[in-house]
């Protein structure tokens, strides 16, 4: 009934493997990578253009610029005035949108299969020819500020998560919000966007992913026609950003108008491509599913149903990112219990993973879910394209999608204990607690930070 907030804040991309439609990979002369996956179940096609740029590329002072640029990508080129892009897609029965993450900015259209060319023509045009008019920027930056107010400023749990990231990372650029700090949005100029666009929007910094009822040779031909003439750019190399050892627990409390307390904690963890041992991220992935891979998993079973300490409890981790991140756990107390009890129970669950090997049943359950999930995800062409685009854009190979299930199968209970012992440590932990302030500005709470269970 009450879902863990992690499910909402952090929709971790889950990867799994099963027999799939064929995938074809091409590169144009301008080094645009084109990946086509056939799926002939329905007469539709999804096009996604992924750029290797996101909030983790942004320097201090211009946080949020990737996302603002994403908004401005709908504001016209010399060939297509502001708003025309969306009108053309709409008139062709398409759905379209875009999204910005830490490691990527991506644009998509879903259309019936005979309209693929329309998406290509428009995407190619805005890859190199965006106008970025000053007057459109002035309005759109206000829209983004409204978006920040809606998503973060007025959402106490989002504020708590934002603060967790801000204090957890000393050097990693995952410390600032994707949408940017409000003060940076207030000081942003259209020139910031011009520089950002110039730096990153080029065929050799992009991946074109097409999934659907298409003929790969025909897709390649269309790609060459529309994207082929675009000039590549000198893409700046990124300096490595290495997080120094944490050397002790970090805590932050967030006081905001709210009714219910909330806790989120993060342990620094490696990702695929940045791990001491290749198997570690996969072991962490299973570990997370042992904690929160459904209603039968440990957190809901023990905290929500067994001891009834929490109304919700969750865990999330993504093995696939450009830079290492955190394994997150969160929870909200049940009436009559406080946030300290929730934190204690979550820490106990982390400790238990270090001491006791996970059971054969639990492991078998996670594997069954991976196998089933691989079939279920084929029900969505959009999701299939998302997986390919994510992996390619963070510098991995889309073929990892197929290897995933095998790698998961090889993980042993001992390896799960090992990653728990190595990474789920106090010195590696950051905790953020939402401390509710009265919503009406006057009614004092019975005990600050505790739970007001009376009515």
């Amino acid at each position: 009934m009450i879902r863990s907030i992690l499910m909402v804040v952090l929709p971790a991309v889950v990867f799994s493997a099963w027999a799939e439609g064929p995938v074809h990979e091409f590169a144009l002369d301008n080094r645009l990578k084109v990946i086509v996956k056939e799926d002939h179940r329905a007469p539709i096609v999804v096009t996604q253009v992924w750029y290797k740029v996101g909030s983790s590329y942004e320097p201090a002072g211009t946080t949020g610029v990737s996302h603002v640029l994403e908004h401005m990508m709908f504001k016209g080129t010399p060939n297509h005035p502001p708003g025309q892009f969306s009108r053309i897609i709409a008139a062709n029965g398409g759905r379209e949108n875009a999204f910005t993450g830490r490691d990527y900015t991506a644009y998509f259209q879903t259309l019936s299969r005979d309209r693929l060319e329309i998406a290509f023509e428009l995407e190619a045009d805005r890859m190199r020819h965006l106008t970025l008019p000053e007057e459109e920027f002035r309005k759109e930056i206000e829209v983004v500020k409204e978006e920040r107010r809606m998503r973060t400023e007025d959402k106490p749990t989002s504020l708590t998560y934002e603060q967790l990231l801000a204090v957890a990372y000393r050097n990693l650029p995952y410390s600032h919000p994707i949408i940017g700090w409000m003060s940076d949005l207030e000081n942003m100029s259209v020139d910031d966007l011009r520089r950002w666009y110039q730096l990153w929007y080029a065929p050799n910094n992009a991946t074109l992913v097409v999934v659907g009822d298409v003929d790969p040779a025909a897709v390649l031909k269309l790609a060459e026609k529309y994207f082929g003439p675009l000039k590549p750019e000198n893409i700046p190399a990124q300096k490595p950003r290495i997080e120094p050892p944490q050397r002790g627990e970090t805590r932050v409390s967030v006081r905001a108008p709210a009714r219910e307390p909330y806790l989120i904690m993060g342990y620094k963890t490696p990702v695929v491509g940045h791990a001491d041992q290749e198997w570690e991220p996969y072991a962490l992935d299973i570990l997370t599913s042992i904690l929160d891979g459904g209603s039968s998993a440990r957190l809901t079973r023990r905290l929500v149903r067994g001891e009834e300490i929490a109304v919700s409890a969750g865990a999330s981790y993504s093995a696939f990112a450009r830079l290492p991140g955190m394994l997150l756990m969160d929870g909200a107390p049940a009436p009559g219990h406080d946030i300290e009890e929730v934190e204690r129970a979550l820490r106990e669950e982390a400790d238990r993973l270090k001491k006791e090997p996970v059971s054969a049943e639990e492991l078998s359950r996670v594997r069954a879910q991976v196998v089933a999930g691989k079939v279920y995800e084929l029900d969505s062409v959009f999701y299939q394209a998302m997986q390919i685009g994510t992996l390619e854009t963070i510098g991995l190979d889309w073929r990892l999608i197929d290897e995933y299930a095998e790698r998961i199968k090889k993980v042993t209970p001992q390896q799960i204990s090992q990653v728990a012992q190595k990474y789920l440590t106090e010195d590696n932990l950051t905790v953020a607690v939402l401390d509710p302030l009265p919503l009406d500005g006057k009614k004092p709470l019975a005990s600050r930070g505790g739970h007001d269970g009376t009515h």
């Binding site: 952090l10 206000e142 929500v304 109304v311 879910q369 969505s380 919503l439």
Partner: protein, 443 residues
């Protein structure tokens, strides 16, 4: 994690609508029958993937709560917490050990139990047996009831810290008055405290019966297998009787403005009235008209005026939510407190102009092209098709609803939209809710 340019809310609204359409596209072939005990079954064969989706819906939403707001939701939430000889842990174990996903839930009209599973023998047998138990022999243990009650109470409190939820609850209360659609499906603090186990058991016995249910199946099964599946899952439910007709929704008599102070940096605006019902004769005119006004994703009059031209809101929209009886017509947006009056005025003016002048031929053509051209997208996955089947079955829409839809859209005229909006949408009697502008705002 990512941010999208446009609120996903709009996609959710499209799903609520569940409207397909297109020139040359036909819908999937729907087969239909009734189980021996009287449950209607709709089935689409989908051999492409070794999986199946089954969704059983009942006329058991919060519109049936009576004086106990939250009763339908509490009942639904308890189904998978104990059934036959199994407790919640065992039910979850049985399903998840074979990778199956079971979902229960309820809204105002409908309650549902749905299952997605692989069709290999072990997964199929284990998950279907479990779903059957959840539907046919839930135990409603007292411990589980108390835990769910606390969970719902906490959810009510969490709703109180969300300005959008506060606005939506006030809006429904004001628009629907003494109609059952007025009360929040999640209940209130007072109502939740007083619901008894006897009430839950009685609610279940009355509403989770074959005559009051519809079964939708999409998956890698043939007709015979689908018949066996439906029989296994609902065949042991008592026949029962269909829920009695809901009272009609009364029209609003006068305009009403509700201003609630809230410590948020934005004001959340909702304005509207009772809208249309499933099977409404003005359905297609109002649907296409609203698509032009505020429903067409990134392209609509409201989006143009409020967001694109003035930068007032990230998300601005309008929708009709067609229900068994007249569901709400809503226009909504959120904007910084200082701009709330301006946003309200622009939204109101945009609507007034649309009602007075109607759409242009160009606008209508663009909307038609979008709706009909996007038809294949609407039925492109098993999960979308199973939603349509349950909607068609639940609201007793014609079986050729999907096939006929494109033609109905193409038949809509400028005059038809103009006329329907003039007759059906009355801004002079709107409920307008603004939540925000309180102390201790974030700005």
């Amino acid at each position: 994690m990512g941010l999208t340019r446009k609120s996903w809310f709009l996609l959710a609204v499209l799903m609520v609508f569940g409207l397909p359409g297109a020139q040359s596209w036909a819908g999937p072939e729907i087969q239909q029958w009734t189980t021996d005990n009287g449950a209607r079954v709709l089935f689409v064969e989908a051999p492409g993937l070794p999986m199946l989706d089954i969704r059983v819906v009942f006329d058991a939403g919060s519109a049936r709560d009576g004086d106990s707001a939250g009763l339908a939701s509490l009942t639904s939430g308890l189904l998978a917490d104990g059934a036959a000889d199994w407790n919640a842990d065992q039910i979850a174990d049985r399903l998840e050990a074979v990778g199956a996903e079971l979902d229960t839930g309820s809204l105002r009209d409908m309650a549902w139990v749905s299952l997605r599973t692989l069709t290999d023998r072990q997964a199929y047998e284990r998950s279907v047996e479990t779903m059957r138990a959840v539907l046919v022999s839930p135990t409603f243990e007292t411990d589980d009831l108390e835990r769910n009650r606390k969970g719902m109470l906490t959810a009510v409190r969490i709703g109180e810290q969300k300005p959008g939820t506060v606005a939506s609850k006030a809006f429904h209360r004001a628009v629907f008055g003494d109609h059952p659609y007025a009360t929040p499906p999640g209940g209130t603090r007072e109502s939740l405290e007083s619901i008894s186990r006897d009430q839950v058991v009685a609610f279940y016995k009355q509403h989770y019966v074959a005559e009051n249910g519809v079964v939708a199946i999409v998956g890698a099964l043939d007709r015979q297998q689908a018949e066996r599946l439906a029989q296994e899952v609902v065949g042991d439910l008592p026949r029962g009787v269909k829920a009695s007709p809901l009272q009609p929704v009364s029209e609003l008599k006068q305009a009403r403005r509700i201003q609630t102070q809230f410590p948020s940096s934005q004001s959340h605006i909702l304005m509207g009235q009772p809208g249309l019902y499933r099977g409404d004769p003005d359905y297609f005119e109002l649907y296409v008209g609203n698509h032009i006004l505020g429903g067409g994703g990134l392209v609509s009059l409201l989006n143009e005026e409020v967001r694109e031209n003035r930068g007032l809101s990230y998300s601005v929209y309008s929708y009709f939510s067609p229900m068994r009886r007249s569901g709400p017509f809503v226009m909504g947006a959120q904007t910084q407190n200082a701009k709330a009056d301006e946003a309200l005025k622009v939204m109101g003016d945009t609507l007034m102009q649309f009602i007075e002048q109607g759409p242009t031929e160009e606008q209508l053509t663009a909307a038609r092209q979008n709706i009909t051209g996007g038809f294949p997208l609407r039925i492109s996955s098993n999960s979308k098709i199973v939603e349509y089947l349950s909607m068609i079955g639940f609201y007793q829409l014609p079986l050729d609803y999907l096939d006929a839809f494109t033609g109905r859209i193409d038949a809509v005229t400028v005059k038809g939209i103009h006329d329907a909006f003039l007759r059906r949408v009355h801004p002079d009697r709107f409920v307008t809710v603004v939540v925000g502008n309180g102390q201790a705002s974030g700005e």
